[in-house]
Protein backbone atom coordinates (compact mmCIF):
# COMPACT_ATOMS: atom_id res chain seq x y z
CA UNK A 1 0.00 0.00 0.00
CA UNK A 2 2.82 2.37 0.88
CA UNK A 3 4.36 1.84 -2.54
CA UNK A 4 1.34 3.44 -4.16
CA UNK A 5 2.42 7.04 -4.92
CA UNK A 6 -1.12 8.24 -4.32
CA UNK A 7 -1.21 6.77 -0.82
CA UNK A 8 0.32 9.94 0.62
CA UNK A 9 -2.81 11.88 -0.31
CA UNK A 10 -5.11 9.70 1.74
CA UNK A 11 -7.15 11.49 4.35
CA UNK A 12 -7.86 9.59 7.52
CA UNK A 13 -9.55 10.34 10.77
CA UNK A 14 -7.48 11.26 13.81
CA UNK A 15 -9.32 10.74 17.04
CA UNK A 16 -13.05 10.23 17.41
CA UNK A 17 -15.66 10.69 14.73
CA UNK A 18 -17.34 14.07 15.03
CA UNK A 19 -20.74 14.37 13.42
CA UNK A 20 -22.78 17.50 12.99
CA UNK A 21 -26.17 16.11 12.17
CA UNK A 22 -25.62 14.03 9.07
CA UNK A 23 -22.28 15.67 8.17
CA UNK A 24 -18.96 14.18 9.16
CA UNK A 25 -16.57 16.89 10.35
CA UNK A 26 -14.03 14.63 12.06
CA UNK A 27 -10.54 15.84 12.78
CA UNK A 28 -8.31 14.35 10.08
CA UNK A 29 -4.66 14.51 9.12
CA UNK A 30 -5.62 17.32 6.72
CA UNK A 31 -7.18 19.24 9.60
CA UNK A 32 -4.05 18.59 11.63
CA UNK A 33 -1.81 20.13 9.02
CA UNK A 34 -4.14 23.08 8.53
CA UNK A 35 -3.94 23.71 12.26
CA UNK A 36 -0.17 23.27 12.28
CA UNK A 37 0.31 25.65 9.36
CA UNK A 38 -1.96 28.30 10.83
CA UNK A 39 -0.32 28.00 14.21
CA UNK A 40 3.14 28.24 12.65
CA UNK A 41 2.16 31.40 10.80
CA UNK A 42 0.65 32.89 13.93
CA UNK A 43 3.60 32.00 16.15
CA UNK A 44 6.24 33.25 13.73
CA UNK A 45 4.47 36.50 12.99
CA UNK A 46 3.51 37.05 16.58
CA UNK A 47 7.15 36.73 17.58
CA UNK A 48 8.11 39.00 14.71
CA UNK A 49 5.56 41.63 15.71
CA UNK A 50 6.25 41.54 19.43
CA UNK A 51 9.67 43.14 19.40
CA UNK A 52 9.81 46.78 18.57
CA UNK A 53 13.51 47.30 18.18
CA UNK A 54 14.73 49.87 15.71
CA UNK A 55 17.24 47.39 14.34
CA UNK A 56 15.26 44.18 13.83
CA UNK A 57 16.53 40.75 14.75
CA UNK A 58 16.09 37.77 12.43
CA UNK A 59 12.50 36.88 13.20
CA UNK A 60 11.36 40.49 13.22
CA UNK A 61 13.12 41.02 9.93
CA UNK A 62 11.37 37.95 8.52
CA UNK A 63 7.97 39.27 9.57
CA UNK A 64 8.65 42.75 8.29
CA UNK A 65 10.13 41.61 5.00
CA UNK A 66 7.11 39.35 4.41
CA UNK A 67 4.84 42.26 5.24
CA UNK A 68 6.54 44.60 2.79
CA UNK A 69 6.77 41.83 0.16
CA UNK A 70 3.02 41.19 0.20
CA UNK A 71 2.30 44.89 0.53
CA UNK A 72 4.39 45.67 -2.53
CA UNK A 73 2.83 42.80 -4.47
CA UNK A 74 -0.65 44.15 -3.78
CA UNK A 75 0.16 47.76 -4.56
CA UNK A 76 1.94 46.74 -7.77
CA UNK A 77 -0.92 44.62 -9.11
CA UNK A 78 -4.08 46.10 -7.63
CA UNK A 79 -3.11 49.66 -6.72
CA UNK A 80 -3.79 51.60 -3.56
CA UNK A 81 -7.50 50.78 -3.54
CA UNK A 82 -6.69 47.20 -2.56
CA UNK A 83 -5.27 48.24 0.81
CA UNK A 84 -8.30 47.10 2.85
CA UNK A 85 -7.84 43.58 1.48
CA UNK A 86 -4.19 43.41 2.52
CA UNK A 87 -4.85 41.27 5.60
CA UNK A 88 -6.82 38.74 3.59
CA UNK A 89 -4.23 38.38 0.86
CA UNK A 90 -1.44 38.24 3.40
CA UNK A 91 -3.25 35.46 5.32
CA UNK A 92 -4.00 33.64 2.08
CA UNK A 93 -0.41 33.80 0.88
CA UNK A 94 1.01 32.71 4.22
CA UNK A 95 -1.54 29.93 4.65
CA UNK A 96 -0.91 28.46 1.22
CA UNK A 97 2.85 28.92 1.55
CA UNK A 98 3.02 27.22 4.94
CA UNK A 99 0.72 24.39 3.85
CA UNK A 100 2.93 23.83 0.79
CA UNK A 101 6.11 23.99 2.84
CA UNK A 102 4.87 21.67 5.58
CA UNK A 103 3.94 19.28 2.81
CA UNK A 104 7.62 19.12 1.88
CA UNK A 105 8.47 17.39 5.15
CA UNK A 106 8.64 13.62 4.51
CA UNK A 107 5.62 11.63 5.75
CA UNK A 108 3.65 14.83 6.28
CA UNK A 109 0.44 15.71 4.53
CA UNK A 110 0.05 18.42 1.90
CA UNK A 111 -3.19 20.26 2.52
CA UNK A 112 -3.04 22.09 -0.77
CA UNK A 113 -2.72 18.88 -2.79
CA UNK A 114 -6.46 18.38 -2.32
CA UNK A 115 -8.71 19.93 -4.92
CA UNK A 116 -11.46 20.52 -2.41
CA UNK A 117 -9.24 22.77 -0.28
CA UNK A 118 -7.88 24.84 -3.14
CA UNK A 119 -11.31 24.98 -4.75
CA UNK A 120 -12.89 26.23 -1.54
CA UNK A 121 -10.33 29.01 -1.35
CA UNK A 122 -10.68 29.82 -5.04
CA UNK A 123 -14.48 29.85 -5.07
CA UNK A 124 -14.50 32.05 -1.99
CA UNK A 125 -12.13 34.48 -3.71
CA UNK A 126 -14.20 34.34 -6.90
CA UNK A 127 -17.46 35.09 -5.12
CA UNK A 128 -15.92 37.77 -2.93
CA UNK A 129 -14.31 39.50 -5.90
CA UNK A 130 -17.56 39.38 -7.86
CA UNK A 131 -19.49 40.87 -4.94
CA UNK A 132 -16.85 43.59 -4.48
CA UNK A 133 -17.04 44.35 -8.20
CA UNK A 134 -20.81 44.74 -8.14
CA UNK A 135 -20.67 46.83 -4.96
CA UNK A 136 -18.06 49.19 -6.40
CA UNK A 137 -19.45 49.56 -9.91
CA UNK A 138 -23.05 48.35 -9.75
CA UNK A 139 -24.21 46.87 -13.00
CA UNK A 140 -21.31 48.69 -14.64
CA UNK A 141 -19.18 45.78 -13.52
CA UNK A 142 -20.68 43.84 -16.44
CA UNK A 143 -18.59 46.08 -18.71
CA UNK A 144 -15.76 43.77 -17.73
CA UNK A 145 -17.15 41.35 -20.30
CA UNK A 146 -17.22 43.97 -23.06
CA UNK A 147 -13.70 44.98 -23.98
CA UNK A 148 -13.42 48.38 -25.64
CA UNK A 149 -12.15 48.69 -29.20
CA UNK A 150 -13.62 45.44 -30.43
CA UNK A 151 -15.54 45.41 -33.75
CA UNK A 152 -19.28 45.08 -33.20
CA UNK A 153 -19.47 41.93 -35.31
CA UNK A 154 -17.03 40.16 -33.03
CA UNK A 155 -18.66 41.45 -29.88
CA UNK A 156 -21.08 38.54 -29.18
CA UNK A 157 -18.25 36.06 -29.52
CA UNK A 158 -15.88 38.11 -27.34
CA UNK A 159 -18.49 38.57 -24.63
CA UNK A 160 -19.13 34.82 -24.50
CA UNK A 161 -15.39 34.15 -24.32
CA UNK A 162 -14.94 36.76 -21.60
CA UNK A 163 -17.77 35.28 -19.54
CA UNK A 164 -16.38 31.78 -19.88
CA UNK A 165 -12.91 32.94 -18.95
CA UNK A 166 -14.32 34.82 -15.97
CA UNK A 167 -16.29 31.80 -14.79
CA UNK A 168 -13.31 29.50 -15.23
CA UNK A 169 -11.19 31.61 -12.90
CA UNK A 170 -11.93 29.61 -9.74
CA UNK A 171 -11.33 26.35 -11.58
CA UNK A 172 -8.03 27.44 -13.08
CA UNK A 173 -6.91 29.00 -9.80
CA UNK A 174 -7.67 25.90 -7.75
CA UNK A 175 -6.57 23.30 -10.28
CA UNK A 176 -3.24 25.09 -10.83
CA UNK A 177 -2.29 24.86 -7.17
CA UNK A 178 -3.73 21.41 -6.60
CA UNK A 179 -2.22 19.86 -9.73
CA UNK A 180 1.20 21.36 -9.09
CA UNK A 181 1.34 20.09 -5.56
CA UNK A 182 -0.06 16.69 -6.38
CA UNK A 183 2.13 16.14 -9.42
CA UNK A 184 5.28 17.18 -7.59
CA UNK A 185 4.64 14.98 -4.60
CA UNK A 186 3.62 12.02 -6.75
CA UNK A 187 6.77 12.37 -8.80
CA UNK A 188 8.95 12.48 -5.70
CA UNK A 189 7.21 9.40 -4.39
CA UNK A 190 7.71 7.58 -7.69
CA UNK A 191 11.41 8.39 -7.75
CA UNK A 192 11.70 7.41 -4.12
CA UNK A 193 10.12 4.07 -5.05
CA UNK A 194 12.67 3.64 -7.85
CA UNK A 195 15.51 4.11 -5.37
CA UNK A 196 14.23 1.13 -3.39
CA UNK A 197 13.41 -1.10 -6.36
CA UNK A 198 16.72 -0.48 -8.18
CA UNK A 199 18.69 -1.12 -5.03
CA UNK A 200 22.23 -0.10 -4.09
CA UNK A 201 23.61 -0.37 -7.63
CA UNK A 202 21.04 1.42 -9.77
CA UNK A 203 19.36 3.48 -7.08
CA UNK A 204 21.77 6.39 -7.17
CA UNK A 205 20.33 7.99 -10.27
CA UNK A 206 16.75 8.23 -9.00
CA UNK A 207 18.13 9.28 -5.63
CA UNK A 208 19.97 12.21 -7.15
CA UNK A 209 16.84 13.00 -9.11
CA UNK A 210 14.89 12.91 -5.91
CA UNK A 211 17.29 15.37 -4.28
CA UNK A 212 17.04 17.71 -7.24
CA UNK A 213 13.25 17.37 -7.26
CA UNK A 214 13.11 18.31 -3.59
CA UNK A 215 14.77 21.59 -4.42
CA UNK A 216 12.47 22.11 -7.34
CA UNK A 217 9.44 21.29 -5.22
CA UNK A 218 10.42 23.82 -2.57
CA UNK A 219 10.65 26.39 -5.34
CA UNK A 220 7.27 25.28 -6.69
CA UNK A 221 5.79 25.43 -3.20
CA UNK A 222 6.80 29.07 -2.90
CA UNK A 223 5.98 29.91 -6.48
CA UNK A 224 2.48 28.44 -6.36
CA UNK A 225 1.68 30.28 -3.17
CA UNK A 226 2.92 33.46 -4.84
CA UNK A 227 0.93 32.77 -8.00
CA UNK A 228 -2.18 32.05 -5.98
CA UNK A 229 -1.83 35.32 -4.11
CA UNK A 230 -0.92 37.39 -7.14
CA UNK A 231 -3.81 36.03 -9.19
CA UNK A 232 -6.11 36.95 -6.34
CA UNK A 233 -4.64 40.44 -6.52
CA UNK A 234 -5.24 40.58 -10.25
CA UNK A 235 -8.86 39.49 -9.88
CA UNK A 236 -9.25 42.06 -7.15
CA UNK A 237 -7.73 44.65 -9.43
CA UNK A 238 -10.36 43.85 -12.08
CA UNK A 239 -13.08 44.36 -9.50
CA UNK A 240 -11.62 47.56 -8.04
CA UNK A 241 -10.35 49.32 -11.15
CA UNK A 242 -12.51 48.54 -14.15
CA UNK A 243 -10.13 48.71 -17.10
CA UNK A 244 -11.99 47.38 -20.07
Amino acid sequence: MAANPMYQFNVYRIGPEIKLGEIDISFTNASLFMVISSLAVLIIFNLGAKKKSLIPDKIQLLAELSYSFVSKMISDTAGSKAKPYFSFIFSLFMFVLFCNMFGMIPYSFTVTSHIIVTFTLAIFIFIAVTIIGFIKHGLGYLKLFVPSGVPIILLPLIVVIEIISYLSRPVSLSVRLFANMMAGHTMMKVFGGFVISLGIIGGWLPLSFSVALTGLEILVAFLQAYVFAILTCIYLNDALNLHH
Binding site: I25, L42, A49, I116, I123
Partner: protein, 196 residues
Protein backbone atom coordinates in the same frame (compact mmCIF):
# COMPACT_ATOMS: atom_id res chain seq x y z
CA UNK B 1 -23.64 33.04 5.04
CA UNK B 2 -24.04 33.29 1.29
CA UNK B 3 -20.53 31.99 0.91
CA UNK B 4 -21.28 28.88 2.95
CA UNK B 5 -24.42 28.09 1.01
CA UNK B 6 -22.62 28.38 -2.28
CA UNK B 7 -19.76 26.25 -1.04
CA UNK B 8 -22.21 23.61 0.05
CA UNK B 9 -23.96 23.62 -3.31
CA UNK B 10 -20.63 23.18 -5.04
CA UNK B 11 -19.48 20.42 -2.75
CA UNK B 12 -22.79 18.61 -3.09
CA UNK B 13 -22.42 18.75 -6.87
CA UNK B 14 -18.97 17.29 -6.61
CA UNK B 15 -20.20 14.64 -4.21
CA UNK B 16 -22.86 13.61 -6.66
CA UNK B 17 -20.51 13.57 -9.61
CA UNK B 18 -17.72 11.63 -7.99
CA UNK B 19 -19.50 9.38 -5.53
CA UNK B 20 -19.89 6.79 -8.26
CA UNK B 21 -16.12 6.38 -8.67
CA UNK B 22 -15.15 6.61 -5.03
CA UNK B 23 -15.81 3.01 -4.27
CA UNK B 24 -12.66 1.62 -5.81
CA UNK B 25 -9.45 1.83 -3.82
CA UNK B 26 -7.20 3.04 -6.67
CA UNK B 27 -7.41 6.46 -8.29
CA UNK B 28 -6.97 9.76 -6.58
CA UNK B 29 -7.82 10.06 -2.90
CA UNK B 30 -8.54 13.71 -3.66
CA UNK B 31 -11.71 12.69 -5.46
CA UNK B 32 -12.97 10.63 -2.56
CA UNK B 33 -15.66 12.85 -1.03
CA UNK B 34 -15.66 11.10 2.31
CA UNK B 35 -13.83 13.89 4.15
CA UNK B 36 -14.63 16.82 1.87
CA UNK B 37 -17.01 18.47 4.24
CA UNK B 38 -14.61 17.93 7.10
CA UNK B 39 -11.80 19.51 5.08
CA UNK B 40 -13.95 22.48 4.16
CA UNK B 41 -15.09 22.98 7.73
CA UNK B 42 -11.57 22.77 9.09
CA UNK B 43 -10.25 24.99 6.32
CA UNK B 44 -12.83 27.66 7.07
CA UNK B 45 -12.13 27.33 10.77
CA UNK B 46 -8.33 27.46 10.64
CA UNK B 47 -8.12 30.00 7.86
CA UNK B 48 -10.78 32.13 9.50
CA UNK B 49 -8.93 32.16 12.82
CA UNK B 50 -5.66 32.83 11.02
CA UNK B 51 -7.19 35.73 9.13
CA UNK B 52 -8.87 37.24 12.18
CA UNK B 53 -5.81 37.00 14.42
CA UNK B 54 -3.47 38.27 11.72
CA UNK B 55 -5.66 41.18 10.69
CA UNK B 56 -6.73 42.25 14.18
CA UNK B 57 -3.64 41.61 16.26
CA UNK B 58 -0.46 40.89 14.39
CA UNK B 59 -0.45 42.86 11.14
CA UNK B 60 -1.29 46.21 12.78
CA UNK B 61 1.67 45.70 15.11
CA UNK B 62 4.04 44.97 12.23
CA UNK B 63 2.69 47.93 10.31
CA UNK B 64 3.16 50.10 13.40
CA UNK B 65 6.70 48.87 13.81
CA UNK B 66 7.51 49.64 10.20
CA UNK B 67 5.84 53.02 10.45
CA UNK B 68 7.60 53.96 13.66
CA UNK B 69 10.94 52.88 12.25
CA UNK B 70 10.36 54.99 9.18
CA UNK B 71 9.42 58.03 11.22
CA UNK B 72 12.31 57.41 13.61
CA UNK B 73 14.74 57.28 10.73
CA UNK B 74 13.28 60.44 9.23
CA UNK B 75 13.50 62.14 12.60
CA UNK B 76 17.09 61.07 13.03
CA UNK B 77 17.97 62.35 9.59
CA UNK B 78 16.30 65.62 10.41
CA UNK B 79 18.17 66.05 13.69
CA UNK B 80 21.40 65.13 11.97
CA UNK B 81 20.67 67.74 9.34
CA UNK B 82 19.96 70.45 11.90
CA UNK B 83 23.04 69.52 13.87
CA UNK B 84 25.13 69.70 10.74
CA UNK B 85 23.72 73.13 9.98
CA UNK B 86 24.41 74.18 13.55
CA UNK B 87 27.97 73.04 13.40
CA UNK B 88 28.48 74.74 10.07
CA UNK B 89 27.13 77.95 11.52
CA UNK B 90 29.41 77.59 14.52
CA UNK B 91 32.34 76.95 12.24
CA UNK B 92 31.57 80.09 10.28
CA UNK B 93 31.29 82.08 13.49
CA UNK B 94 34.55 80.69 14.66
CA UNK B 95 36.24 81.61 11.42
CA UNK B 96 34.77 85.07 11.64
CA UNK B 97 36.07 85.43 15.16
CA UNK B 98 39.50 84.32 14.08
CA UNK B 99 39.47 86.78 11.20
CA UNK B 100 38.36 89.61 13.45
CA UNK B 101 40.94 88.84 16.06
CA UNK B 102 43.62 88.69 13.38
CA UNK B 103 42.55 92.11 12.15
CA UNK B 104 42.50 93.41 15.69
CA UNK B 105 45.93 92.05 16.39
CA UNK B 106 47.24 93.68 13.24
CA UNK B 107 45.61 96.96 14.27
CA UNK B 108 47.15 96.77 17.69
CA UNK B 109 50.51 96.04 16.19
CA UNK B 110 50.21 98.88 13.71
CA UNK B 111 49.08 101.25 16.39
CA UNK B 112 51.90 100.28 18.64
CA UNK B 113 54.36 100.61 15.81
CA UNK B 114 52.99 103.99 14.87
CA UNK B 115 53.18 105.12 18.42
CA UNK B 116 56.71 103.96 18.87
CA UNK B 117 57.79 105.53 15.58
CA UNK B 118 56.16 108.78 16.55
CA UNK B 119 57.84 108.60 19.93
CA UNK B 120 61.18 107.96 18.36
CA UNK B 121 60.62 110.76 15.88
CA UNK B 122 59.62 113.17 18.58
CA UNK B 123 62.59 112.27 20.67
CA UNK B 124 64.90 112.53 17.73
CA UNK B 125 63.49 115.93 16.75
CA UNK B 126 63.82 117.16 20.31
CA UNK B 127 67.31 115.81 20.50
CA UNK B 128 68.28 117.35 17.19
CA UNK B 129 66.81 120.62 18.28
CA UNK B 130 68.75 120.47 21.50
CA UNK B 131 71.90 119.67 19.65
CA UNK B 132 71.28 122.47 17.12
CA UNK B 133 70.58 124.89 19.91
CA UNK B 134 73.72 123.93 21.69
CA UNK B 135 75.71 124.10 18.50
CA UNK B 136 74.33 127.50 17.64
CA UNK B 137 74.97 128.72 21.19
CA UNK B 138 78.54 127.47 21.02
CA UNK B 139 78.96 129.00 17.58
CA UNK B 140 77.60 132.27 18.90
CA UNK B 141 80.07 132.11 21.74
CA UNK B 142 82.90 131.27 19.42
CA UNK B 143 81.89 134.10 17.12
CA UNK B 144 81.61 136.44 20.03
CA UNK B 145 84.96 135.30 21.24
CA UNK B 146 86.42 135.77 17.79
CA UNK B 147 85.09 139.24 17.49
CA UNK B 148 85.96 140.27 21.01
CA UNK B 149 89.37 138.64 20.87
CA UNK B 150 90.36 140.41 17.62
CA UNK B 151 89.07 143.70 19.04
CA UNK B 152 91.01 143.04 22.21
CA UNK B 153 94.09 142.03 20.28
CA UNK B 154 93.77 145.18 18.17
CA UNK B 155 93.29 147.26 21.25
CA UNK B 156 96.23 145.55 22.99
CA UNK B 157 98.28 145.93 19.81
CA UNK B 158 97.40 149.61 19.57
CA UNK B 159 98.08 150.16 23.22
CA UNK B 160 101.38 148.27 23.22
CA UNK B 161 102.49 149.85 19.99
CA UNK B 162 101.58 153.32 21.34
CA UNK B 163 103.49 152.54 24.52
CA UNK B 164 106.40 151.25 22.49
CA UNK B 165 106.40 154.34 20.30
CA UNK B 166 106.18 156.56 23.42
CA UNK B 167 109.12 154.83 25.02
CA UNK B 168 111.16 154.68 21.86
CA UNK B 169 110.44 158.09 20.54
CA UNK B 170 109.17 159.74 23.67
CA UNK B 171 106.41 161.28 21.87
CA UNK B 172 102.76 160.72 21.98
CA UNK B 173 101.68 159.02 18.81
CA UNK B 174 98.46 159.56 17.07
CA UNK B 175 96.35 156.75 18.24
CA UNK B 176 94.21 156.82 15.14
CA UNK B 177 97.13 156.37 12.77
CA UNK B 178 98.43 153.56 14.96
CA UNK B 179 95.15 151.88 14.87
CA UNK B 180 95.09 152.22 11.08
CA UNK B 181 98.54 150.61 10.91
CA UNK B 182 97.48 147.84 13.26
CA UNK B 183 94.45 147.28 11.19
CA UNK B 184 96.50 147.01 8.06
CA UNK B 185 98.99 144.69 9.78
CA UNK B 186 96.34 142.45 11.08
CA UNK B 187 94.69 142.41 7.66
CA UNK B 188 98.03 141.48 6.12
CA UNK B 189 98.62 138.71 8.62
CA UNK B 190 95.18 137.50 7.98
CA UNK B 191 95.82 137.50 4.26
CA UNK B 192 99.04 135.66 4.92
CA UNK B 193 97.20 133.09 6.90
CA UNK B 194 94.53 132.62 4.30
CA UNK B 195 96.65 133.16 1.31
CA UNK B 196 98.28 129.78 1.29
Amino acid sequence: MLKKIIIQIFTLNFVLVTSAQSGESGGMPQLNPEFWVSQIVWLVLTFGILYIVLSKLILPKISNNLESRKSQILENIETAETQREDSEKKLKEFEKIILESKLEARNYFNEARQKILEDINNKRVALEKDIDDEISAVEQEVNNLKITSSEKIKKIAIETSSELIKQLIGEEANSSSISAIVEEQSRKSKEKQHGI
